[in-house]
Amino acid sequence: MRSMRVPRSPKVLVGLCILGIFILLTLIGPWIAPYDPNDTSFVPNLRPSWQHLFGTTTLGQDVISQLLVGCRVTMVVGFIAGTLATIISLVVGLAAGYIGGRTDEGLSLLSNVFLAIPGLPLLIVINSYLPAGEQANPLVVGLVIALTGWAWGARVLRAQTMSLRDRDFVEAARIIGESRWRIMLGEIGPNLLPIIAASFLFTILYSVGVYTTLAFLGLTNVATWNWGTMLYWAQTNNAALANEWWWLAPPGIAIALVGTSLALINFGIDEFINPRLRAAGLTARQRRRVGMARRPRLGFTPVQRSEVRKKGASS
């Protein structure tokens, strides 16, 4: 009945394109970086030029090299944290929603607690207790981020699992005696895919945001290049007051673009999950093509005489 195809709206396509570019940069960024990001031998505070596409920092480093090298760590931590958080939320959500009873009570309480505690302060506290060496380890930081960011997905997945639990096909699987885990993964799991995808993208978004924030605060190893550390160095060197926009803008915009691309793809998934969000009308351009003067308004069904239209259905 439902095809698994995400609506191919321009929003989703743009989102996929931007994300694709950043994934590509994650893979090849460090290789195509023109200089060593740590090299301080350039003239400081250069504006963008052909020599230095995004200019240089007060410390005499090449900005675009830092951006390209930093892309990998930023994205990888986001991806690791997003994956781990999604796994946790899937296990918790499925178990709570399907098993119900005491299990549900306990797991729901746990996710409500993690939802209520503000994530970033908790993260900062946990992170500050980590041994200095571990703070630089993207895997450890990713794990800690995942620990604070799984609860939202778990709540959504639990609700959806509960609504699926009583459907016929699950009932049928129960009657023929399939094991609980088989039903959860084999029968319910596939039907959760759009929601899992949405929660995965959301947690990546959250993770990239949180990781760069930690780095911006100087709480990760400031010698490891990521977009947050770039902003950290820019902030400590008062780049804003010196009006060094070429230093500030690239990492900030890169973070925002990754976030935008994930959010745009999520729009598509949202429209897939909630058909009411799907554009029931037309874009202004499509409307012009079919010769409609204005967008259809609620309670004012348009009248368009078929003399000027062709009946498309009969052919």
Partner: protein, 356 residues
């Protein structure tokens, strides 16, 4: 039927509705014409997807996007202060429509739970409607009128203080009916008002509606997929299939002697409310996909009496039997050589009066 029924309330000619625009358009209602007289009840029957709801929402221009009205004329003959005025629904502006809505045409939707604002007390909803009609009225006068309206449908005045979720399904639907009558409209549209209710409540509400119609004299379009409900309430019944009218006849005649195989199938899918137990047969198959309707008669893939002509040519709606009923079926074409099944032939009419 009285002579009032000769005065028209609604005239519809060649009315068509599409879903979607341009090349993606799908025809949902096709070339429907009918006219409804004062205080008459028109039943519209058909399976879900037959276009019956699309038809009435289109007529009132309440149909949501991507619905588009593609042809026809809809004329509403106003009453009350604007008595005698012929109101062209399809050329009216939004403001003009707003003037006519509820005071001339009101609607009762299938699910009262969804049709009532969950955050408002019933009394507030009444008050809003009544004030919209008459801004000079006092709050107490409006409240008295609301109590009067509730009494009309057999509900106590204290229901005004309730929120929709505090009422039972039957009570909610009665509230909706009372509200539909609030401004004494000429025409009330009932979109499957009883489908979501249990059989006993269904029955009660239908007989209440019958009495209210007798008392207040409004005309009604009653949509349902349950033909047996209509027999007691409707003066005339229209059966729709795939967006077209396939049969139209006075209620008793249609029920006693259907002429279209689809009507017969529809009748056999519901047990009659009274009378003998009959074997339920229903209709094999499912309604056609409107994106790619079958050629010829839209019903032919499911029709037990289909023959070659049905597969290639669509039958027009033609008057039969002295013109007081019409059917769109080749079986009843004068040039047809097919054998008409007994259940659809004129002889079956003798069953009328034996208590259907």
């Amino acid at each position: 039927m009285n002579e009032d029924s000769l005065v028209p309330v609604l005239d519809v000619t060649n009315f068509s509705v599409d879903y979607g625009y341009g090349d993606d358009a799908v025809r949902a209602v096709s070339d429907v014409s009918f006219s409804l007289g004062r205080s008459q009840v028109l039943g519209v029957a058909g399976e879900s997807g037959s276009g019956k709801s699309t038809l009435v929402y289109g007529l009132t221009r309440l149909l949501r996007a991507p619905g588009v009205i593609t042809s026809g004329e809809v004329t509403l003959h106003l009453a009350g202060e604007r008595n005698g005025e012929a109101f062209n629904v399809l050329t009216a502006s939004e403001d003009e429509l707003r003037q006519v809505r509820w005071s001339q045409v009101s609607i009762v939707m299938q699910s009262a739970l969804n049709a009532l604002n969950p955050l408002r007390r019933v009394g507030k909803e009444f008050d809003e409607v009544l004030r919209r009609h008459d801004r000079t009225s006092s709050k107490t006068a409006r409240q008295e009128r609301a109590i009067e309206l509730l009494a009309l449908v057999g509900l106590a005045a204290d229901r005004l203080q309730r929120f929709p979720h505090e009422l039972s399904g039957g009570q909610r639907q009665r509230v909706m009916i009372a509200m539909a009558l609030a401004l004494r409209p000429e025409l009330v549209i009932m979109d499957e008002p009883t489908t979501a209710l249990d059989v006993v409540t269904q029955r009660e509400i239908v007989s209440e509606l019958y009495e209210l119609r007798q008392k207040l004299g409004f005309a009604m379009i009653f949509i349902t997929h349950d033909l047996s409900l209509l027999v007691e309430l409707a003066d005339e019944i229209m059966v729709m299939y795939a967006g077209e009218i396939v049969e139209r006849a006075p209620a008793v005649e249609l029920h006693g002697a259907p002429r279209h195989p689809y009507t017969l199938g529809l009748m056999n899918s519901f047990p009659p409310l009274q009378g003998d137990r009959v074997r339920m047969t229903g209709i094999p198959g499912s309604p056609p996909n409107l994106k790619s309707p079958p050629g010829g008669c839209a019903f032919h893939p499911r029709c037990p009496s289909a023959h070659d002509r049905c597969r290639t040519q669509a039958p027009p709606l033609v008057a039969i039997e002295d013109g007081h009923r019409s059917v769109a079926c080749w079986l009843h074409d004068s040039s047809s050589t097919e054998v008409v099944p007994v259940s659809l032939s004129r002889r079956a009419a003798s069953r009328i009066g034996q208590g259907a």
